[in-house]
């Protein structure tokens, strides 16, 4: 069976063209037909990507559609609450079973080792359905919004089903709000020449990030964080952390770019998910730039529900920490992700405390100190972010401890030559790519992103940029591609 993702040739050879032609041409401009075609192809995409798990998507969709309708229809507040809890429970149960069951069992097994009377449980080894973390959050946000009377539920089931299963963002985001989506599909979708340019630019940009940057970084990362490598070599750990940071950003943002580009073809705009996160000057700033759709989702549906900043400092810190820990857990069924979230939570709390201090705020008012302070803030934030990427990447606890020690230079060496011997043969190219990334990322932040600017550039600039991008993909891609990291979430 064909396996479809954004780097498969099949996606570009027939799937996307069929969607575009089907929606913009064969539909005859009829809105409902267009949405029906989008729905059909979305389920086809999901089926090709994840097989029988498409049933889970259908269950989640049907359930949220039905329950949201009932929530809207009933006047009884308690009944509304009950229905909401029901849909949240089912969605979270799906997540719990398919994503976290084995983690729960493994944790239980660690405990049961201590207590002989506890029965043994074997992990079920359930396959993680593609995109489950995304579409459950998406449909839950719909139900919660309807409960909060933010908008009324979708009239048309086809519209809602298309929203819940929209193929560009189904698998790895961005998480789209139902009202944003509905607003865009309430009129027939039509071809816009500007959209075509923008879409192609986004897709090519995304492919370059994934194929050239992410995959090349992956080769180095995979050779560093494995059993037997000396992770007390600070030089090696720094390099590994830097490469992983670039890999995960390029990988994830590439998916978003391609998703946005694919949607733009048929006139639907998806939200941006990244805003040069490595230009962030504080942990808070980082979370406004990284995986924006998730962080805003967590803010709107978890943090605020837990009290947010309205119920005092203690409640705020608890809400913040809970949000970050659960946000970390969302990324994967491993205590590493919980720790990662926890550490970020600590950082956010510390930042909040510090930024409230008059002495700190006064530094920003001093025109001579402002820039050095901002620079320091940026540097410290980025060191922190790349340090926490170790937690994200290195799942083995023993290795993680060594890596963390290596990163901070505790009981470690700094041996570049020895580090290089661990790396794959391709090193100079990777080094150049790392330098290029740093420069492009920095400039992109300064000038507000390159993709849109490239698409708006004159044809004699756009053409060569596309040509060079395609040639680079041809010449600079490593032999062994890696799957999208966030595909697993």
């Amino acid at each position: 069976m064909i396996s479809l993702d954004f780097t498969s040739p099949d996606y570009y050879a027939w799937f996307l063209p069929c969607v575009i032609v089907g929606v913009l041409s064969f539909s005859g401009g009829k809105r409902r037909v267009q949405i029906g075609i989008i729905l059909l192809f979305s389920y086809l995409f999901f089926w090709l990507a994840s097989g029988w798990h498409v049933i889970l998507l259908a269950i989640s969709t049907l359930m949220d559609w039905t329950i949201a309708k009932r929530i809207f229809a009933t006047e009884n507040q308690q009944k509304k609450k009950f229905l909401l809890k029901l849909t949240l429970a089912v969605n979270l149960a799906l997540l719990a079973v398919f994503k976290y069951l084995d983690m729960i069992i493994q944790t239980y097994s660690l405990v049961s080792l201590k207590f002989f009377w506890m029965p043994d449980l074997d992990p079920y080894g359930l396959l993680l359905p593609v995109g489950i973390s995304f579409y459950t959050f998406q449909t839950m946000s719909y139900s919660i919004d309807v409960y909060r009377s933010k908008y009324k539920p979708y009239d048309d089931f086809i519209d809602f089903a298309a929203y819940a299963s929209f193929f560009p963002q189904l698998v790895a985001g961005p998480i789209v709000r139902a009202d944003d989506f509905l607003e865009q599909i309430k009129s027939p979708l039509s071809f816009d020449e500007r959209n075509f340019r923008l879409a192609v630019t986004f897709i090519v940009y995304g492919l370059v990030k994934k194929i050239i940057f992410a995959n090349n970084m992956a080769a180095h990362v995979d050779s560093i964080f494995i059993e037997g490598v000396d992770l007390q070599n600070t030089a090696l750990v720094w390099w590994g952390s830097l490469c992983f940071g670039i890999q995960i950003y390029c990988d994830f943002s590439a998916y978003t770019d391609i998703a946005i580009g694919s949607a733009i073809f048929i006139g639907i705009k998806l939200p941006e998910n990244f805003k040069t996160p490595y230009a962030a000057r504080s942990p808070q700033d980082f979370w406004r730039r990284w995986h924006i759709s998730l962080s805003t989702w967590l803010r709107d549906y978890l943090y605020i529900s837990l009290g947010g900043s309205r119920k005092g400092l203690v409640r705020l810190y608890m809400a913040l920490m809970t949000t970050m820990v659960l946000g970390g857990l969302w990324h994967g069924a491993s205590w590493n992700f919980v720790l990662w979230g926890f550490v970020h939570g600590i950082a956010l709390i510390v930042h909040r405390v510090l930024s409230k201090q008059k002495s700190i705020r006064s530094l920003f008012d001093n025109k001579y100190l402002k820039f050095p302070v901002l620079l320091t803030g940026w540097f410290v934030t980025q060191v922190f972010v790349f340090f926490t990427w170790l937690i994200f990447r290195v799942e083995d606890w023993t290795m993680l401890v060594f890596a963390m020690k290596g990163f901070v230079g505790y009981d470690s060496t700094f041996d570049i030559a020895s580090g290089r011997s661990v790396l794959p043969n391709v090193q100079y190219l990777t080094f150049i790519l790392v330098m290029s990334f740093i420069i492009i990322h920095g400039l992109s932040g300064k000038y507000g992103g390159f993709r849109t600017k490239i698409s708006e550039a004159p044809g004699w600039i756009w053409g060569p940029v596309m040509a060079l991008s395609l040639l680079a993909m041809l010449y600079l891609r490593p032999d062994h591609p890696t799957e999208f990291i966030y595909f697993r979430f």
């Binding site: 391709v426 100079y428 044809g459 053409g463 060569p464 040509a467 395609l470 040639l471 010449y475 490593p478």
Partner: protein
């Protein structure tokens, strides 16, 4: 034309122009830096395509050779040009190591497009050797790498000659070719960067004289022209090891040669296999395109030829006979030609030395010239070629010689002198075993060869070679067990305490190592030699002594 149309026109035009302009630059970075040998042996795949372009640019008559490293090492195009009756003819050598006709198929259309007048094809055991179906990874890499670099539009008839299982693995479709090309270009870009950053020439180590066999100059290099006619050669291994006074030559012409002649690549499979089919296809296509074909069965090292079993290469002989019967072909059978009967014509078992190349030019060139004259329809030019060199045939007999020295019958037995004047070698007899011992056993030992009791054993060596020593002893203890050994009056270096002939292991009585732990051996030339045995410790008992060329021999078995 509205703005949108103008935008798209300029975008598409600049897109295409960029692709066209940038591609040569990228090719330069990538092609030049593809690791020599990373895909083909010694970097000769890619250059074959540039070679055809190069060859076709010159309208002068041309002779092109195809073959394995044998052809590569044998055919000196520069020398051929110098001595050819056709002053304007070009002689190109496109042989490469580990070649198979089957794997050459994708190049065929390029060869034909280059319009050579004559092609010279190597005809030998490896021409018909085994190739697995489906092809192994290494062979697939070779064939696919050639395909990546071949013109997209070209004669693809060779695909009909290929096995179905191989066709499924050949990356001939454009998408597959691009995928394969990027697979090679990626490490090549890295190599370009390494060259720039580390100033190490990891790919092309070419000096002005093309001495490095790994050198593969780019087609715009000054060296390229010579490179196509006479590629860099292997070093002369035989020349290097012959003067060594150890067993290197014996091992080379012994065990190593046995392994060589038993390998699959160096033997015909014995059936009409895919290599043979491909070879016939190449011949037929050449003839169909009015290219004259000369098949050359290149000579092998005479020691190898002597070692072959009677019918080992019968398939090749039959093929030579069959091809000779075809009037449209010229077949030159040098496989066991007496003019190459001396191993000085060879670097090793099969590759020719400089002397061998000279000899091949003298022998083969007249025949090629004749074919070329007929092809070009020129009047026959009478020219005296250099006569073939005459060297005596090499008669290297490799056999496991065993010489037994009669311990009790030395050629000379001298008593000790001075402090050892009471010591002498006398007969020893115990439990049916006889030998010689030094008595009295007073616990004396000596380094003084002038005073020590002495035995000399003279014998004839029929076959020169490296001989290993095995000595049987019944010495009773470790203080009465050692001797000094020498050959022809020269002491052998066996360590500071000579040769010890005692261990606690009572089952052991044969010894072949000196005090230094090395096997005792000597390279004997044919003729008379004498073994010298001096007492080192009194009481030592010698019962037997053997000399053997067999490295695997174990005395006492």
């Amino acid at each position: 034309m509205n703005q949108t149309t103008r935008w798209y026109c300029s975008a598409i035009t600049s897109f295409v122009v960029t692709l066209i302009l940038v591609n040569p630059i990228l090719s330069d970075a990538v092609d030049r830096k593809l690791i020599d040998g990373s895909v083909m042996e010694l970097g000769r795949y890619h250059f074959t395509f540039e070679a055809y372009d190069y060859i076709s640019q010159d309208s002068a008559p041309s002779v092109v050779t195809w073959g394995s490293s044998k052809m590569r090492e044998s055919f000196d195009g520069l020398d051929m040009e110098k001595h050819s009756v056709h002053d304007d003819a070009n002689f190109y050598n496109l042989g490469y190591a580990s070649e198979h006709p089957y794997l050459r198929l994708p190049e065929l259309s390029s060869l034909i497009s280059a319009k050579p007048d004559v092609i010279v094809l190597e005809l030998g055991p490896n021409t018909f050797s085994f190739l697995p179906t489906p092809l192994d990874t290494n062979s697939l890499e070779k064939i696919n790498s050639v395909i990546y670099h071949s013109p997209i539009v070209g004669n693809k008839e060779y695909l009909q000659v290929m096995e179905t299982e191989d066709l499924n693995l050949i990356e001939d479709e454009i998408g597959e070719r691009m995928k394969g090309y990027s697979r090679y270009s990626f490490p090549a870009v890295e190599n370009s960067l390494i060259d720039r950053f580390e100033e190490e020439n990891t790919g092309w180590d070419c000096d002005e004289k093309l001495t490095n066999v790994r050198c593969a100059p780019h087609s715009d290099s000054d060296l390229y022209d010579d490179y196509l006619r006479r590629p860099p050669q292997f070093t002369n291994y035989l020349e290097r090891i012959k003067p060594l006074n150890d067993n290197t030559l014996e091992v080379f012409y012994g065990e190593k040669l046995d392994n060589y002649i038993n390998s699959k690549y160096h033997n015909p499979e014995g059936a009409y296999n895919k290599n043979h089919r491909a070879f016939d296809f190449i011949i037929d296509q050449a003839i169909e395109n009015q290219i004259e074909v000369v098949l050359v069965a290149l000579p092998y090292n005479p020691v190898l030829m002597q070692r072959l079993s009677v019918d080992q290469w019968d398939y090749v002989s039959e093929a030579i006979e069959n091809y000779s019967a075809r009037e449209e072909l010229t077949v030159v059978d040098l496989l066991d030609d007496s003019r190459f009967g001396n191993d000085s014509y060879f670097n090793d078992f099969s590759h020719m030395s400089k002397l061998g190349e000279d000899q091949l030019t003298r022998v083969l060139l007249p025949k090629i010239d004749k074919v070329l004259t007929a092809k070009l329809k020129r009047p026959e030019i009478v020219k005296s070629y250099e006569e073939p060199i005459e060297l005596p045939p090499t008669n290297y007999i490799y056999s496991n010689e065993l010489i037994s020295i009669e311990i009790q019958n030395p050629t000379l037995n001298l008593n000790g002198s001075n402090s050892l004047d009471e010591h002498s070698w006398i007969e020893w007899n115990q439990s049916g075993k006889t030998g010689l011992t030094v008595l009295p056993n007073n616990g004396m030992s000596t380094r003084n060869l002038d005073d020590a009791p002495y035995l000399k054993y003279c014998f004839e060596i029929q076959t020169s070679g490296y001989y290993y020593f095995w000595i049987e002893s019944n010495s009773s203890d470790g203080n009465s067990d050692s001797i000094w050994l020498g050959v022809d009056g020269e002491l052998l270096d066996t360590g500071s305490r000579g040769v010890g002939l005692f261990t606690m292991d009572k089952s052991k009585s044969w010894y072949n190592k000196g005090d230094d732990g090395d096997e005792i051996g000597y390279s004997f030339t044919q003729g008379s030699h004498c073994l010298d045995v001096w007492m080192r410790e009194d009481g030592v008992v010698l019962t037997d002594l053997l000399l053997t060329t067999d490295i695997a021999f174990q005395a006492g078995d």
